[in-house]
C-alpha cells in the first residue's frame, strides 16, 4: 500500500517543463531516492511535496489524503535542507525545539524530546552551541535532529550531505541509514550523487529532464539499467558500438573480430553496455585487442584505459596484488555474455 503517491505530478515554469507527469509511490517506512543530474526536476519535485512550490498538474497523496490545499506548515513533514538552514540566532537545542514549540508540546516533554533527538544524532552535550560554532557535520546532525524530533510522517532530504567532505560524507551515510532504519521513518532523498543514492536507498528513482527513467532497488538498477541514461548515470559504463549477426547457436555480438553470444538480439547495428569491473584480461591473442593508454592506481583497485578498434574502453580491476599490464602493453579484453546488455543502435 502506497503511503506517499505522486500521480501525474507536473510543474511548468513558463514554457519550461521542469517536472513532466511524474508517477511514483513510496511505501510506509521505505527509503526512496530521487537521483539525477542538476536541472532534472528532482528538487522541484521535493519542493512540491513540501508545499513550497505549487504543482501545475497532478496530485500528491499522503496516506490517501490529497495534499493540495494543505499549507506547507500543516503538512507535518521533516525537511533537511542542502544548506541545513539552521536558525543562526538560536542554539542547537532551540533549533530542535522550534517545531515542538509550534506544536505546543508542553515544556517538560519538549526538553526531554530535544535531548533525546540530539542524543540520537550523537550530539548530546552540544545543546547550547550556536550553529556558527558547530562544524559542518555537526550542523548537519542538528538539522537532522530538528527534522526528526517532530516525528514527521515523511522525512525529506535535499542533498543533505553535499556540503560535507568525502570522508565525513561516508560516515554520515552509514549513520543516516541506521537512524532511518531504527525509526522507520518514510524517507525521500534528493541527490545527484549516485553513490549516496545506492548506499542509502531501498529504491532509486533515476530522473532525467523532468521524467523518471527507472525505479528499482539500487542493485537492480545498476545491474539492469532500463535506459542508456540510467546505465551511464549509475556508475561507470562502457558503450561499445558493434554489429549483431545470426550465428550457428543464435545471434552473436561482433566487435572487431571478437564475438560473444547475444541472446534475443535482433540482427543489425547494436550498442553493448558493459561495466568496467566486469571486463577481464584474456589470454594472449584472444578477446578484443587493445593497447593500454593509461593506468591509475586507486588503492583498492586499478583503473585502466585501453585503446581498441571500438574506441576507448575503461577497465577496473580489483587490486589482488597481481601484476597489471603497463602503459603501451598489448592486451586482449573479454567479458561474460551475461554481463553485457545489447541494444539496437539508434539510427
Amino acid at each position: 500500500m502506497a503511503f506517499l503517491a505522486l500521480e501525474g505530478l507536473t510543474k511548468r515554469f513558463g514554457p519550461y517543463l521542469a517536472v513532466d507527469g511524474l508517477e511514483l509511490t513510496v511505501g510506509q517506512g521505505e527509503f526512496v531516492s530521487l537521483l539525477g543530474p542538476s536541472g532534472c526536476g528532482k528538487t522541484t519535485t521535493l519542493q512540491m511535496i513540501a508545499g513550497f512550490v505549487e504543482p501545475s498538474a497532478g496530485r500528491i497523496l499522503l496516506g490517501g489524503q490529497d495534499l493540495a490545499g494543505v499549507a506547507p506548515n500543516r503538512r507535518g513533514l521533516g525537511i533537511v535542507f542542502q544548506s541545513y538552514a539552521l536558525f543562526p540566532h538560536m542554539t542547537a537545542a532551540e533549533n530542535v525545539a522550534f517545531g515542538l514549540e509550534m506544536r505546543r508540546v508542553p515544556r517538560a516533554e519538549r526538553e526531554a524530546r530535544v535531548r533525546e533527538a540530539l542524543a540520537l544524532v550523537g550530539l548530546a552535550g552540544f545543546e547550547d552551541r550556536f550553529p556558527r560554532r558547530l562544524s559542518g557535520g555537526q550542523q548537519q546532525r542538528v538539522a537532522l535532529a530538528r527534522a526528526l524530533v517532530i516525528r514527521p510522517e515523511i522525512l525529506l532530504l535535499d542533498e543533505p550531505l553535499s556540503n560535507l567532505d568525502a570522508k565525513l560524507r561516508e560516515e554520515m551515510q552509514i549513520e543516516l541509514r541506521q537512524i532511518q532504519r531504527r525509526l522507520g521513518t518514510t524517507t525521500v532523498l534528493v541527490t545527484h550523487d549516485q553513490g549516496e543514492a545506492m548506499a542509502l536507498s531501498d529504491r532509486i528513482a533515476v530522473m532525467n529532464r523532468g521524467r523518471i527513467e527507472q525505479v528499482a532497488p539500487p542493485h537492480e538498477a545498476y545491474e539492469r539499467p532500463a535506459t542508456p541514461f540510467v546505465a551511464s548515470f549509475l556508475g561507470k559504463t562502457n558503450l561499445l558500438a558493434g554489429l549483431v549477426r545470426d550465428g550457428a547457436d543464435g545471434p552473436v555480438f561482433v566487435l572487431d573480430g571478437f564475438a560473444l553470444p547475444a541472446h534475443g538480439a535482433a540482427p543489425g547495428p547494436a550498442i553493448a553496455t558493459v561495466r568496467p569491473e566486469r571486463i577481464a584480461f584474456a589470454d594472449a591473442g584472444a578477446g578484443l585487442a587493445g593497447t593500454v593508454a593509461a593506468r591509475v592506481f586507486q588503492g583498492s583497485h586499478w583503473m585502466l584505459s585501453v585503446e581498441t578498434a571500438a574506441g576507448t574502453v575503461l577497465v577496473i580491476r580489483q587490486n589482488t596484488g597481481a601484476e597489471m599490464p603497463r602503459e603501451g602493453a598489448a592486451v586482449g579484453l573479454t567479458w561474460s555474455p551475461q554481463d553485457m546488455a545489447v541494444r539496437r543502435a539508434e539510427p
Binding site: A50, F52, P72, N73, R74, R75, G76, L77, G78, I79, F81, Q82, S83, A85, L86, F87, P88, H89, F98, G99, M102, R103, R146, A147, I150
Partner: protein, 270 residues
C-alpha cells in the same frame, strides 16, 4: 599585499588634511574667548557654548530636529521592512519601477522636492505644519532605510524561512521568530542612517519649515546667511561632536562603508 609608498602616503596625508580642515576649524574657533571670529591663541573659552542656552531658537530647533528625525526614521523603517521583503522575495509586475520610485528621492534634487512639497502642502492645508515636515522627511529618508533592509533581506537564505514553515510555523510566526531577528542588523542601521539623514537635511526643509517648526540645520543656515559669528560656530561644533559620537557607535556596530554603500562590500581584510 604591498604597503603604500611614500608618494601615496604624502598624498593621503594631504587628503586627510583637506577632509578634516574645515571640520577642525569650526571646532577650534568655537572655543574662542573673543567676541568675534578668531582662533583661541591664548586661552580656550566655553563662553560661546554657554551662550547657546540663551538663544532658545537654537535649542528649540534642536529638539524639533530630534523629534522629526526619530519620528520620520521610525515611520520610514516601518514602511521599508515589508516593502524590502516584497522586493527581495517576490516577482511581481512593476517591481523594478516601484523600486526605482522608492529610491528616486536619492536622485531628485532636494530643491525640486522642497518646491513640490511646498506647493502640495499649501494646497492640502498642511503648509508649515510639523505633520507636513514628518511626511516629507519620511519620503526623503526612506531610500536609505530601504537599501539597507533590502541588502540584509536579499542576503538571507530563503531555506531558513522554509525550514521554519516546514516545522509548522505560520507566516506571522516565521516573520516574528526568524525573519525579523535575522534582518535586525540591517533594520537597525537603516534606522540610524535614516535618522541622521533627517537630522541633517536642510535643502528641502528650508522650503517647508515655518518659524514654529524650523529644524536645527535650517536655523543654522538662515543664521549664517545673515552673519557668521562665534555663536553659530559653537552650535556647529556641538552638532559635529554629536554626529561624530553617533558615527563611532555606528561604525563599531555595523561598519561605516557597509552603511553608506547600502550593501555588504566584503571582508575587511582580504
Amino acid at each position: 599585499m604591498n604597503r603604500n609608498g611614500w608618494i601615496a602616503l604624502t598624498f593621503h596625508a594631504l587628503f586627510i588634511v583637506f577632509i578634516l580642515a574645515p571640520i577642525v576649524v569650526v571646532c577650534v574657533v568655537a572655543f574662542t574667548p573673543e567676541g568675534f571670529l578668531s582662533y583661541p591663541t591664548h586661552t580656550w573659552s566655553l563662553r560661546w557654548f554657554r551662550a547657546i542656552a540663551r538663544y532658545p531658537e537654537f535649542v528649540d530647533a534642536f529638539f524639533a530636529s530630534l523629534w522629526l528625525g526619530l519620528l520620520s526614521s521610525a515611520i520610514a523603517v516601518a514602511l521599508s521592512v515589508p516593502a524590502a521583503l516584497a522586493i527581495a522575495r517576490h516577482r511581481f509586475p512593476g517591481r523594478e519601477a516601484i523600486t526605482a520610485l522608492f529610491l528616486s528621492p536619492l536622485m531628485i534634487p532636494h530643491v525640486v522636492l522642497g518646491i513640490a512639497f511646498l506647493r502640495f502642502f499649501t494646497e492640502i492645508g498642511l503648509g508649515g505644519t510639523f505633520a507636513g515636515l514628518v511626511i516629507s522627511h519620511v519620503v526623503i529618508v526612506l531610500p536609505f532605510a530601504l537599501r539597507l533592509v533590502l541588502a540584509s533581506a536579499a542576503g538571507m537564505d530563503r531555506a531558513i524561512e522554509n525550514a521554519a514553515v516546514s516545522l509548522g510555523a505560520s507566516g506571522l510566526t516565521t516573520f516574528r521568530r526568524i525573519t525579523l531577528p535575522l534582518i535586525a542588523p540591517g533594520v537597525a542601521s537603516g534606522w540610524a542612517l535614516a535618522f541622521i539623514q533627517s537630522f541633517d537635511e536642510v535643502t528641502m526643509t528650508v522650503f517647508i519649515a515655518a518659524p514654529g517648526t524650523t529644524t536645527l540645520p535650517v536655523r543654522m543656515f538662515l543664521y549664517i546667511q545673515d552673519n557668521i559669528d562665534p555663536l553659530v560656530t559653537s552650535v556647529s561644533a556641538a552638532v559635529i561632536a554629536l554626529t561624530v559620537l553617533f558615527l563611532i557607535v555606528l561604525d563599531r556596530l555595523y561598519g561605516i562603508e557597509r552603511l553608506l554603500a547600502g550593501r555588504a562590500v566584503g571582508q575587511d581584510d582580504r
